[in-house]
Amino acid sequence: MLPHRRRPVLLALTALAPLTLLACADPSPDPPPVAEAEGVRNAAGSLHVMERPFERGERIERIVSLVPSATEVIVALGAGDRLVGRTDFDTASALAALPSVGGGLGPSIEVLLSLEPDLVIRFGGDTDLATPGRLDDLDIPHLAVIPERVQDVRDMIGDLGALLGRAEAADSIVSHIDRELARVMATAAGLPPVRTAFLLGGSPPWAAGPDTYVGELIALAGGDNVFGDLGRPWSGVSPESLLARRVDVVLMLEGARLDPRLAQRLTVRHVALVVQLPGPRVHEAALAIARALHPEAFR
Amino acid sequence: MSFRATDLRVRYAGAASPALDGVSMSVPEGALYAILGPNGSGKSTLMRTLMGILRPESGGVWIEDRRVERWDRRELARAVGAVPQSEAMAFPLSVRELVAMGRYPHLGPLSAEGAQDREAVDRALDRCDVAHLRERPVTSLSGGEVQRVRIARALAQEPRSLVLDEPTASLDIRHEMAILGLLRQSADGGMTVLVITHHLDLAGRFADRLLLLDQGRVVSEGEPRDVLQADILSRVYGWPVAVDVNPITGAPRITPLNAGPPPPP
């Protein structure tokens, strides 16, 4: 029998031994250096990281986009024929024939692999931490996008245009967007600001602060967000604050409901879903909000 | 109060064999009646069946010539003070609070305790020698003290009879004799007292009638000298015993013998 003192030490070593296997497991050399396409950065400062450098002129033929707004951009750029798969949330009829990888967050890696993509566009940030590692293991290049604000949309269009060799189309789309936004802003500038709040239903209702996509659109469209002091992008707000802050118009998505006690005293106008998701139709979203705020001025 | 059972067959859910199999017994009024038997012979089951908590498959129980099912529970609680073998309280209570629960069967739905109730509680506390512990939490008492408190609660019910499951199990000599003396006094005063106990000697000394159970069946019922026979006891308890007469008390004395052959002279 081992002497009493040595036994715990031996037990500890036995317990730790399997861990050494982890160190031996991966014999691969250092990971390849990350290439940064120029100007590939979103408004919040985070990188759209390319996990494998593309040679200039190398053509990307097979794309799977896990981000619906990026899919829209690709189609708008005229590169829709290069899409080989979609997510369950890509509901446009033109894409219906493509096989689906499931959700955009946590897609089916098997289906993805079977589609043999040259490039996967995925959500950046920390909403889906598993997918990038998986894609690296399978040696599939991927591009992270975080379309949260109006500027992100411009950047995303530009980046994708550069990557897919459709830079001119990208510029033209961005210019169109900018022109339309400028028109909305100009019309709104001549009107008195409307005190407004954008609410998602629930008890308590959830309001958008200025630091959100919808908050930006409200500012563009001549609205005065009564929750300008919110302090964080979204937050539940006390129902009584909606009454106390003299809201002229409450904006809600189609199909959403407000507490009847508030609905009785406030003007509620519904806007289309396009205002929630940043994408290439940002000008339509701005117009939708402008119409809700100034119905007479915007047809 | 009299207790009577005829041909009881009681089976616990899912058990292969019945806990009581054809038990008949009769407790006359004002008697101190002891129920004896080895572990698992059905003593506690018999108590629960007599009190109407367990329903027999067949056979019946009569308390004061009325079937136990016909007794209203509160009425029965005013008539019989029953103390089970053990209780596990979830929340701490003081001794006085626990004993005061003995008065619940006497209180109307909206009434609070009156002077009469408080006096009954005080008397009960005194008789069981726990009055000095009245404000102590029950959880801080020794096993024997808790047992006396529970007997006090039964006395506070001011019942016409008592049914107790191993009331002296954790008590020291002084308290055991005091309780048995109390029970004997109560019986002499007209109360019917049923006691389940392991102490063959004390049962033989204090009880008027004994019931001996074995594996759910009645082995014998009668006066102590008739029931406490060496050959019967040895068979039932599975251990050789000798029975003689205690020269001091005059009651039967049971002596468990050593197993194996007797030592050489």
């Binding site: 239903g201 129902p239 106390a244 009847p260 | 209780e87 979830a90 209570l93 739905p109």
Partner: protein, 329 residues
């Protein structure tokens, strides 16, 4: 602390809690505005805020806080377990499954009562399942079987919720999680009436069962020997306590800790006699939740913190303090 003393103190604290909850809110109103609102004067806006938002909300906090404390104390006696609380038999799981289901199906927008109705239905389903399981095993509603059935049914509903959420979009998931954290924001007069309709009669029934609960807390055999019709009392008490809990959860989501710590706090002050414990727990629960809701509304105004978060943040340290006090005695 004497029982009468504590009762007076708690009534006072509850009154102060309600008054404070009406006086203060996300938006500043002066005392004059508030008093004027009660007299029918002042601005229409202030009147609306005070009479249609703050007053029903304060009353609902009292009803639900008191009801949960009452239910918690009752379950503690019935299950003879100091860790018992209103959700121990899977009621919150059932209610949450009902609410999340309706949120995922988008039926919430159909009418304002669909969400509470679905939550209530889910709670009732959970109650039915637990008691059917317990009754099938052994007709006598055995404590251990009930506890086990409650855990199992709760786990089942958690799995249902997880399944629904895994297939839902982000908006639904956010809504579901927030509902489950609890909120009194939907406290209109309809909600107050509904909860009062369940809680007030139920509270009276339980107060009438106080002695029986004292006896059950010692043991079912002993309770029977002391005159309790054990099966009838258990049926009524379980049923009534479950309904109080279901009504509260349906309207306000899962508000934790009130049902567990309030009865224990009161126990430490006046002992475990249910004749005092029940009414005092009701008052303490009412005051506690009213103050907690005030904090939820005011601390980060105009934002509202889910009330389940406030009760946990306040309740957990409080509970630990009480626990230490009770152990070192």
């Amino acid at each position: 602390m004497s029982r009468r003393g504590l009762a007076t103190l708690l009534v006072l604290i509850t009154v102060v809690a309600v008054a404070t909850a009406i006086r203060f809110g996300a938006e500043p109103l002066t005392s004059r505005d508030v008093l004027a609102a009660f007299r029918g004067g002042g601005s229409a806006g202030a009147r609306y805020i005070v009479l249609d938002f703050r007053l029903p909300r304060a009353l609902l906090a009292c009803l639900i806080g008191g009801g949960l404390a009452l239910a918690g104390a009752t379950f503690q006696a019935l299950l003879r377990n100091p860790l018992a609380e209103p959700y121990i038999l899977g009621i919150s799981g059932g209610a949450a499954a009902g609410a999340v289901g309706v949120l995922a199906l988008g039926w919430v927008t159909a009418a304002s009562w669909t969400l509470p109705a679905a939550a209530f239905a889910g709670a009732l389903l959970a109650i039915l399942l637990v008691f059917s399981v317990a009754a099938a095993a052994d007709r006598a509603l055995d404590v251990r079987v009930l506890l086990l059935a409650g855990v199992v049914v709760g786990a089942f509903f958690s799995a249902v919720i997880a399944l629904i959420l895994s297939m839902s979009e982000a908006r639904t998931v956010r809504g579901a999680v927030l509902w489950m954290m609890g909120s009194l924001a939907a406290a209109d007069w309809q909600a107050v009436t509904m909860v009062a309709a369940y809680t007030v009669p139920a509270a009276l029934v339980l107060l009438g069962l106080a002695r029986s609960l004292n006896l059950l807390a010692i043991g079912e055999e002993t309770a029977s020997y002391l005159g309790t019709d054990v099966e009838r009392v258990k049926l009524v008490a379980y049923g009534v306590a479950s309904l109080i809990t279901a009504a509260g959860v349906a309207v306000a989501g899962v508000i934790g800790f009130v049902g567990l710590i309030v009865p224990h706090g009161v126990r430490l002050l006046v002992g475990s006699d249910y004749r005092a414990l029940l009414p005092l727990s009701f008052l303490a629960g009412a005051a506690f939740l009213t103050f907690a809701d005030l904090l939820a509304r005011v601390v980060l105004a105009p934002a509202e913190i889910p009330i389940g978060v406030v009760t946990a943040f306040v309740g957990v340290p409080l509970f630990l303090v009480l626990l230490r006090r009770s152990l070192t005695r």
